[in-house]
Symmetry: C3
C-alpha cells in the first residue's frame, strides 16, 4: 500500500492530462478537506470548486477547464470515475490465489479453473464448474451442477443452489441466496400444494449481489439478471423475473414473480413491484414506492400506488395540509348555507 506514482503515470493510466508538475508523486487518495501533500484528491461536484484553493493535496482530479488555483491537476472527463479507478490502483491488491485450502470440501466431478481460492469450510458440490481466479470464501455453499465464470467472488455463507449459472466478474456478498425455491403453491381447496420449482437462476457477467439478498429460481425456466446489474442488500427477486442490463436495485427492494425490469432502471430503497408487469428502460422509482402496474420508460415515479414523480410531489404537498383543506371546505359549506338562506329571505 506504500507504492507511489507520478502524476504523469496516473494521467496515462486514466487517459487524462496533467496541468502542473508531472513529476509530482502521490501514494494514495484523500478528501479535499483532509488531504496531505502526498495524496491526490478529486473535485466531482462543482459546488465545492472553491475548496480546491485550500486543499493540502499534492494534486487534484478535476474536469477539463476547472480553476486550478495554482494546484497540480489531472484533467479527466469524469473525476468521480477517475477517483474510483485510483482507489482500486492504490488500495486493492489482486487476490493471491490460495488453491483449495484445508477443510474446504470439494465434491466429485468438479472442474476447477486456474488460480482459484477455496477457503476453509467452503462447500463445492458435485459437478460444479469454477472459472479461473474464482474466490469462494468460507462457509459458502455451492450446490451440485452450478457453473461459475472467471474472476467471480462468492463471499462467506452465500448459497448458490443446484444448476444455477453465474457469469464472469460477479461478486456475491455474504449470506446472499441464489436459486431458492420460488414461492409457488396451488390451492387445493383448503391447503396449498407446493409447485416444484425446477428452473434456475442465471446471473450474467459483472452482476453484483448484496448481502442476504435472495433470488428465487424460476418455476420452469430462468430467473435472469442481465449484464452489469447491481443489487444491494436484502433485496428479494421472485421466480421468473427478468432484470435488464446496468440496472440498480437498492436495498430492501422487492420484485414479485414474472416481473420484467428494463435496462438502466433504478429502483431505490424499499420499492415494491407487483408481479407480471413491465418496467421500461431508464425508469427511476422513488424510495418506498409501490408499483402495481407497468411503467412507461424514461420517466420517474413515486408513491403507493406509484404516480409520475412530479404529480406525486404535488399530491403529497396537499396531503400534508389536508386538514386545512377540509376546514376550507367546511367554511365554504357554511358560507354557502348563509348565502342560500339570505337569498331565500329576499
Amino acid at each position: 500500500m506504500q507504492q507511489t506514482k507520478t502524476l504523469k503515470e496516473l494521467a496515462e493510466y486514466l487517459g487524462g492530462t496533467v496541468q502542473g508538475d508531472e513529476a509530482c508523486r502521490v501514494n494514495g487518495l484523500a478528501p479535499l478537506e483532509s488531504a496531505a501533500g502526498d495524496k491526490i484528491t478529486f473535485l466531482a461536484n462543482p459546488k465545492y470548486a472553491s475548496k480546491v484553493a485550500e486543499t493540502g493535496a499534492g494534486a487534484v482530479l478535476m474536469s477539463p477547464g476547472g480553476e486550478a488555483y495554482g494546484r497540480n491537476v489531472i484533467e479527466v472527463g469524469n473525476p468521480y470515475l477517475a477517483f474510483a479507478k485510483l482507489l482500486t490502483l492504490f488500495y486493492v491488491q489482486p487476490h493471491a490465489p490460495r488453491g483449495v485450502m484445508p477443510e474446504a470440501c470439494i465434491g466429485i466431478g468438479v472442474l476447477l479453473g486456474e488460480d482459484i481460492s477455496i477457503y476453509p469450510g467452503a462447500i463445492v458440490g458435485d459437478h460444479v464448474t469454477l472459472g479461473d481466479r474464482c474466490v469462494i470464501h468460507s462457509g459458502a455453499v455451492i450446490y451440485a451442477g452450478v457453473t461459475i465464470g472467471d474472476d467471480t467472488i462468492v463471499h462467506a455463507n452465500a448459497v448458490i443452489r443446484e444448476r444455477c449459472r453465474i457469469g464472469n466478474r460477479c461478486v456475491i456478498q455474504p449470506g446472499a441466496v441464489i436459486g431458492s425455491d420460488g414461492f409457488g403453491y396451488a390451492p387445493d381447496g383448503s391447503s396449498y400444494y407446493p409447485i416444484p420449482q425446477i428452473g434456475i437462476v442465471v446471473l450474467e457477467d459483472d452482476v453484483e449481489i448484496g448481502a442476504n439478498t435472495c433470488i428465487d429460481r424460476a418455476a420452469l425456466e430462468v430467473t435472469l439478471i442481465k449484464r452489469g446489474t447491481k443489487v444491494d442488500n436484502l433485496v428479494q427477486i421472485a421466480h421468473n423475473c427478468q432484470i435488464g442490463e446496468d440496472t440498480m436495485l437498492c436495498s430492501q427492494v422487492g420484485i414479485s414473480g414474472s416481473a420484467r425490469v428494463g435496462n438502466h432502471v433504478t429502483l431505490t430503497g424499499q420499492v415494491g413491484v407487483a408481479g407480471h408487469l413491465t418496467i421500461g428502460d431508464n425508469v427511476m422509482v422513488g424510495a418506498k414506492s409501490g408499483v402495481p402496474s407497468s411503467l412507461e420508460p424514461n420517466a420517474g415515479y413515486s408513491g403507493i400506488p406509484a404516480l409520475p414523480h412530479k404529480q406525486w410531489l404535488k399530491s403529497m404537498a396537499v396531503v400534508a395540509n389536508l386538514p386545512d383543506l377540509k376546514k376550507s371546505v367546511t367554511a365554504l359549506e357554511k358560507k354557502i348555507a348563509e348565502l342560500e338562506s339570505k337569498l331565500a329571505k329576499e
Copy 2:
C-alpha cells in the same frame, strides 16, 4: 426424467377423466404455446381457452366441459393443481438418502431417523432429534435440543436455534433463521437491559420458510406457526407471534411481537403488522400496507394505515388528483367571495 406415461395412467393418478386417446403417451409438461406432441399442457385460465386450438401438445389438462378443439384432454376439477402434481411426478426425484456424509458434524446424544441425509459441513448439535428421511444441507446449523419431524428439508446455511421444534414435511430455505432472540429490552433510564428470550419457536407440519426469513423465539413461551402455512423470503416474524393454518406470508412482510394472525390469511409483499393485535381468518392485506390495529375476518384491506380495500382504492384515486381538488376549493372560495361582495352591494 425420460419416463413416459399414458393419459390413462395420468388420469388415474389425478382422479380425472380422459377425453380422446387414452393410450397417448407424454413425457413431461410444457406451456400451451410451446408444447410439443410428447408433452401435456394445461388450461387454468378460461381467458386462454382459444389457445387450446393451436397448441402442439399431446394432451391438455382442463376443467370438465371445456372446448377440446379435437385435442386429447384430461378433465380434472382443478387443472392448475393437476399441473403441479404432474410436475412433481415427472420432474422431482425422491432424494436418495446419503446418510451422515464425511465432514458433517454430529453432536452427542443425537437421535437420527432412517434414510436421512446430512451433507458435508452441516452441524447437528447435542441431543438433536431428526425424523426419518430428513435432509440437512451443507452449512445448516442445528443447535442443541432441536427436534425435527419426518421428511423435513433444511437447506444450506439455515440456522435453527436451541430447543426449537420443527414438524413433518417442512421445508426451510437457505439462510433462514429459526429461533433468534426476540427484540426485547427493558429501559433502565438511560440504556436498555436485554430481556432473556427463553422461549422457543414451533413450526407445525407442512410449514415452509423462505430464504433468509427470520422467526424469533418467544420471550417466555412459544412463537407458533401452524400447519400448512407458507412463508416467503426475507420475512420477519417477531417473538410471541402466533400464525394460523394455511396462511401465506409473502416476501418482506414484517409482523411485530405478540401479533395473532388467523387461518387462510394472505399478507402480500412488504406488509407490516403492529404488535399485540389480531388479524381474523380469511383476511387479505394488499402489498406494502401497514396494519396498526386488529382486522375483522373475511375482508380485504390496504393502505398505511390500512383501510378496507375498496375504501382505500377510492381514497387513492382522489389522492392522485389532490392538486386539482385544491384548485377547485380555491376557485370556490373566490366565487363565494364574489357572490358575497355582490350581495353586500345589493
Copy 3:
C-alpha cells in the same frame, strides 16, 4: 434451573424492599394470570393492578406504594426491569467455556482470550483477536484482521468481514453480516464501475445486531454503531452511516448511505431513511415511514414522506374520507352554480 431464592435475597439483588414474608422462597417467574405459589410475578402496567388480588404467585414485583392485596411484594422502582433481571438470574446460565472445539478452523496469528468457546465449523481468519469469554458459534465466519472484545457472542452463520472491530458484550444473531461492501458505483457513461469499499464497520460496546441484518463497511473510513444501540432483524445500514448511542432500530428498517442517527432514537418497523441527512436525538419515527430529509430532535414523525406525527395522524384521518370530501366539493360547485345562475336572473 431449580435454584430457589428467598424474597430477601431477591430484594437485595434488585435493590428493592420486601413487604410481607422475607423468607418466602420462589424458583422462577410467571405471568400474573398463571403463576403458582413457587413463582414470582410482576406488575408493570397499572392497568392490571386488580389482577394482583387474584394471582396465585408467591410474590409480586411492583412499584412502591402499589396495592398489595395481602400478597408478598418486592417494591422496586422499575418492575419491568426487575422482571428482566430475575429472568436472567433464574434462567440464564453462564456459558461454560468449551475452548476451540474440534472442526473449528483457526487461522494463523490469531489471539484468543481466556475462557472462549469456538464451535465446530466456525471459521476464524488470520490475525483475528478474540476477547475473553467470547462465544463463536458454528458456521460463523470471521474474516482476517477482525477484533472482537470480551464477552461477545457471535451466533451461527453470522459473517464479520475483514478488519471490522466489535466491542465488548455485543451479541450478533445468526446470519447477520457485518462489513459487506457498500453499494457504491461510479457511472462510466453506460455501465457502473465498482468503487472499492476500503473502510470498516465498528460496533462499540453493548451493541446487539439482529438475525440476517446487514451493515456495510464504509467506502473510506468507518460505519459506526455506538454504545448500547440495539438493531433488530433484517435491518440494512448502508456505508458511512453513524448511529448514536442507545438507539433502537426495529426490524426491516433501512438507512441509506452517510446518514447520521442520534442518541436514544427509535426507528420502528420498516422505516426507510434517505442518505446524507441527520436525525436528531430522542426522535421516534412511526412504522413504515419514509424520511427524506433531516429531522429535528425530541419529536415524533410518521408518513411517507414523514411529517410531524400529529400532523400525519390528522392528514390520514382526512385521507380515509377523501371521497366524501370530494363529493362535498362537487356539491358546493353545484350549489354555487345555482346561486350564480339565480343571481344572474335577478
